[in-house]
Symmetry: C2
């Protein structure tokens, strides 16, 4: 009997679907009934995480905890949060429930260490960058994080907020290849798409080569943690 | 304040994500918080609907009702089922809850009538075809349904079960264009993709032209029923 997965979602809604699709694609199943039972709370009442960390915006913790409790009450046996920035609040979320919550940056750092990576370029929201969520997870595995400079980081934020979340700016208008070249010059052996909107943007821009997608890492970990068999040998 | 949507899903899991994506794409929103709050129960314990209707398979009603009750308890104010065949059990599901359940075939038939369609080709599972779910909804709007012949219907079932659900047969191996030509010869002015796996297959096969997608019709109806503004004027 496989475990029931609960997804604390809505951060953003497209990233929530992206995780669900990756879980489904990575589950070995010949019919509906062999897939994992997933309960998703696409809770769009959760306030913006970066705004809370950096600009005194409303605290997302109460709604994150409400979703966690709602999913546990509905029967989830294992939780995950497809939002890297939300992991800044990880301890406060786990404290609200009696079931395990997978840690996306931690899973990602482990996958990098197993691949022998020493320096990773981190593409993420300002909130994730400045809270050090990935830096902590990576340094625990002996991996160095390099970040875009200020101007490039502003472009990454534009890609996430105006490109994917609002669909107000064409993704191709943002000079992503140049940003990657500059990170590679500074030692990045791999690019971490460390905001869940980025794998969506990079797939559309056909720039996924040389990147590690923490959403796929999380999906892979989720399938195994729920007792499913994966259709791939690794999350790369 | 928009209403919270509950999705009775898992029939199959990919179709559930497809509906969520269509709801998200059809919602006018500039940030996560302007999207609709969606709670999804991707309940893969729901037995196969066609097998129950035609071959004495396990009854899906108890699990369908469990999902409906679970979603209402979690805070959903409106439900929908992204599975056309499951609408054979619609009355038994609605009886379990105190909140409305949108009716996908009914919404689809209304959209066809508004477009002046008189004859629609129905592509669906054996369960949907033989239970008359679409025939009833269409005839209520004065629209005639035409179906593939026995051999072509077997190919449609193969496309759904072996192609999309199991990913065991390449979609292009199934002679879909020939099936559409034969339906057009028999008077079909439009093709209804009346199994939620079919819009996925048709998009991949680039055959969506001239088709109406009931998943998109349902998504459109859901956004409006939840009090959201749609990004398109019609579900076509």
């Amino acid at each position: 009997m496989k475990k029931t997965l609960g997804i604390i979602g809505g951060m953003g809604p497209a990233a929530t679907c992206d995780l669900m699709e990756k879980v489904i694609a990575l589950t070995r199943a010949a019919c509906d009934q062999e897939h994992i039972h997933i309960i998703t709370d696409c809770n769009t009442a959760i306030p913006d995480r970066t705004a809370a960390i950096l600009h005194g915006g409303p605290d997302p913790v109460p709604e994150l905890r409400k979703s966690a409790v709602r999913l546990e009450a509905a029967g989830a046996e294992l939780l995950c949060m497809p939002c890297n920035t939300a992991h800044h609040f990880y301890d406060q979320v786990t404290a609200a429930v009696g079931i395990p919550v997978l840690h996306m940056p931690g899973e990602t750092a482990r996958v990098l260490r197993q691949a022998g990576i020493r320096t990773a370029g981190v593409l993420a929201t300002d909130g994730t960058v400045q809270s050090g969520v990935y830096e902590k997870a990576l340094s625990r595995e002996g991996i160095k994080a390099v970040y875009p400079d200020e101007a490039d980081q502003a472009q990454i934020m534009r890609l996430i907020y105006r490109g994917v979340k609002a669909r107000a700016v064409p993704l191709a208008d943002i000079p992503v290849p140049d940003i990657l070249t500059r990170l590679r010059d500074r030692g990045a052996e791999v690019f971490l798409l460390a905001c869940t909107e980025l794998p969506i943007a990079f797939a559309e821009l056909k720039l996924s080569e040389g990147c590690l997608d923490p959403t796929r890492v999380l999906a892979f970990a989720v399938v195994r943690a729920c007792g499913g068999e994966t259709t791939a040998d690794s999350p790369w």
